[in-house]
């Protein structure tokens, strides 16, 4: 486990100064930097070049880094601590610091939904509609972040948390494989379109001070969910049809 007392080489020589509640933008604390690193890594996993398959080595290394951070956070119990000490101002500050790190990539995410995110999901779809593929990859990352938050609410079940997080990361890797349409359908069923907005998602995570069970995380209201799910399903049928044709030929 990485000792907090040791010199932290990963952050550019910045010192550990605790943030004041007055919200002065001091040099971020270790926990904050670690959180930023986590957010940056998750964004990196999503934002891969659309046209060409992502570099597997890079993805594996980033995913391992994410796992490492999560494990340390779980062991520290710091995740829970941060949220307990959460005041309105502090949370805003945290938002801002994350924002700085992720700004350029998130702007990309906001502005370019259509080109889509990760090509991990591409393996599923031959020529599915754009928003279906977005939904897929967003779902993967959403799962990752959603389950990350689930760790907060279920600190007493740390083993399970690891399992959840592992599972969400695993889903990212699962998408590398050509899977049967049935399992794809399962993933589709969990889709929530409101998570397109990375902003909203991160904001939702940070400001949610509710202590409670994981299930308590309510999805944001989304009137269009049903429609897009059915779109996904019809596209899935189309894919089946195409595969049939290919196999028969």
């Amino acid at each position: 486990m990485f000792m907090r007392g040791l010199k932290r080489k990963c952050f550019d020589g910045e010192e550990d100064i605790e943030e004041t509640l007055a919200g002065i933008k001091a040099i971020p604390s270790y926990n904050l930097q670690r959180q930023s690193l986590l957010d940056m890594s998750l964004v990196k996993l999503q934002l891969c070049h659309m046209l060409v398959e992502p570099n597997l080595c890079r993805s594996v290394l980033i995913a391992n880094t994410v796992r490492q951070i999560q494990e340390e956070m779980t062991q520290d119990g710091t995740w829970q601590m941060i949220n307990m000490q959460n005041t309105g101002q502090a949370s805003v500050d945290r938002l801002v610091s994350t924002d700085i790190l992720c700004r350029s990539s998130r702007e990309q995410a906001e502005g370019k939904h259509v080109p889509g995110y990760s090509t991990f999901s591409k393996d599923f779809e031959g020529d599915q509609a754009q928003d279906s593929s977005e939904t897929m990859s967003t779902a993967s990352s959403v799962q990752a972040l959603r389950n990350l938050q689930s760790n907060v609410w279920e600190m007493e079940n740390s083993q399970e948390n690891k399992g959840n997080f592992q599972k969400s990361l695993d889903q990212i890797f699962e998408t590398l494989e050509n899977k049967s349409p049935n399992s794809v359908e399962d993933l589709f069923s969990e889709v929530d379109n409101s998570y397109y907005d990375l902003d909203t998602m991160l904001t939702g995570m940070m400001s949610n001070t509710k202590m409670g069970h994981c299930d308590g995380l309510e999805p944001f209201p989304s009137p269009t969910t049903t429609t897009s799910s059915s779109n996904c399903k019809s596209d899935l049928n189309e894919l089946d049809h195409i595969v049939e044709i290919l196999v028969e030929s």
């Binding site: 040791l6 932290r8 080489k9 990963c10 398959e53 570099n55 080595c57 890079r58 290394l61 880094t65």
Partner: protein, 449 residues
């Protein structure tokens, strides 16, 4: 001079020889050089680029009239090796970028090389034609068929000289064997087989057979959820045709013996250095990922390159390298920024000189580094247009870490991370090096006394 033998760093002065490529400020992506390789005699130098093209340079015969021009390299052949493809099933483009070129030893008048992109390996034959037959009986000079009834006499076609033409023809295409991206190819010392390695598998091919290959390494987990390690590079032993090594993203090297089993999942040797706990950070694993592995010419050692160091391992000692050289340790405090801008994932290559006494690798700001294993001296040189006067001696460069910057030094923060030297090559027997700097190819030689 004694080529490549016992060269002490203080005796070698590297000079600019040539540069190939345009000087344009804006670089066309397709022109970015992605691989450089000398052939076994050093007579030919091949480069591959992102646009799928291969350019082969040939060394001129040294002439007594111009002793200074010690055999310049000039374009010998250019051809399009790979084209962009589209994988319809995955809706993904397959890049035409040439990842690696490897030469076959010369067995007749023609030259053979392997070139590969992410998915397909091709065997190319490069041959010269300087004569052409004339005087056919059944067709005239334009190639049109003659009316047989008009032929009244027979003649023997003769070969007449013509302008030298170098033609490259694809002789074999080895396709559809890799699900993941090919990162390495290596010709076996039996000259009959070669291997191709992707992120998770290594395949063994026979040059004559294109529709089959043997899978000799497979590290793909049954459940992709458990994937935490990938193959990053692989190479055959230079003399033992049953032995090869492959490196991983976790900083380990495995040596395998193909005689033990068909699928070499169990290694014969496992090389890993124990982690230094004082240097531990969230980036430790990423910077330990090995980007290149090369056997020494002798076959006794292997060299590995990770993000900050080059290491030399003795095949007989698995628990730690025998030598470690710091390439650019001043980057250690910048890892977070380098992670953010993805530079931390850059894959640098490394090369041995002909006598295995000096090793070379690239860095940023168009710097490249050489380490003399005997004297333990090292030097940093730069490939730039400013130092490009003919036979100009390269001045050693220095990066200053903190405090006062001396006159000729450059500070870490001024380094240009977009100018990276990932690919270099060393002539097999002489002190001639080829350094790829984005879209330019620099050739340096040691000073002629």
């Amino acid at each position: 001079m004694i080529p490549g033998l016992g060269n002490l760093m203080q005796d070698v002065l590297w000079c600019f020889s040539q540069v190939k490529g345009t000087i344009d400020v804006g670089v066309t992506e397709a022109d970015i050089i992605s691989t450089v390789e000398f052939n076994h005699t050093g007579e030919l130098l091949a480069t591959g680029d992102k646009g799928g093209r291969v350019v082969i340079f040939q060394r001129e015969q040294e002439s007594k009239n111009q002793p200074h021009r010690r055999g310049e390299y000039n374009v010998y052949s250019t051809f399009q090796s790979h084209e962009p493809e589209f994988d319809y099933l995955k809706s993904l483009e397959i890049e035409e970028k040439i990842n690696k070129i490897r030469w076959l030893p010369q067995q007749n008048a023609a030259y053979f090389l392997l070139s590969t992109n992410d998915k397909t390996v091709k065997l190319w034959k490069v041959s010269e034609r300087d004569k052409r037959p004339e005087g056919y009986n059944l067709k005239d000079e334009d190639g049109r068929l003659r009316d047989p009834s008009m032929i009244t006499s027979l003649r023997v076609p003769v070969l007449r000289p013509m302008d030298l033409m170098v033609e490259a023809t694809p002789r074999r295409v080895f396709a559809n064997a890799h699900t993941y991206h090919i990162n390495s190819i290596s010709v076996n010392s039996d000259y009959e087989t070669y291997m191709s390695a992707d992120d998770l598998r290594i395949n063994l091919w026979n040059f004559e057979i294109t529709n089959q290959s043997f899978n000799i390494v497979d590290i793909k987990p049954a459940n992709m959820e458990e994937l935490t390690e990938v193959i990053t590079a692989a190479e055959f032993h230079p003399h033992h045709c049953n032995t090869f090594v492959y490196s991983s993203s976790k900083g380990t090297i495995r040596l395998c013996d193909m005689r033990t089993s068909a699928l070499c999942d169990r290694h014969a040797k496992f090389f890993e250095e124990p982690e230094d706990p004082s240097n531990r950070s969230f980036f430790s694993e990423i910077i330990s990922s090995i980007s290149d592995v090369k056997f020494s010419h002798s076959g006794r050692y292997i060299m590995t390159r990770d993000y900050l160091t080059v290491k030399v391992w003795d095949l007989n000692m698995e628990n730690r390298p025998i030598e470690t050289y710091q390439v650019h340790d001043y980057l250690r405090s910048k890892l977070c920024s380098l992670y953010e801008n993805d530079c931390i994932f850059d894959k640098f290559e490394c090369v041995w000189n002909g006598s295995d006494s000096v090793i070379m690798t690239g860095s940023y700001n168009n710097f490249f580094r050489m380490f003399d294993r005997n004297t333990k001296r090292d030097v940093t040189l730069e490939a730039s247009r400013e130092n490009s006067k003919p036979r100009a001696v390269l001045k050693p460069r220095k990066v200053c870490v903190g405090g006062k910057r001396r006159k000729d030094e450059i500070s870490v923060d001024s380094l240009d991370f977009s100018k990276k030297i990932l690919h270099t090559a060393w002539h097999p027997s002489e002190n001639i090096i080829a350094v790829a700097a984005t879209n330019n190819l620099y050739i340096f030689q040691d000073k002629v006394n």
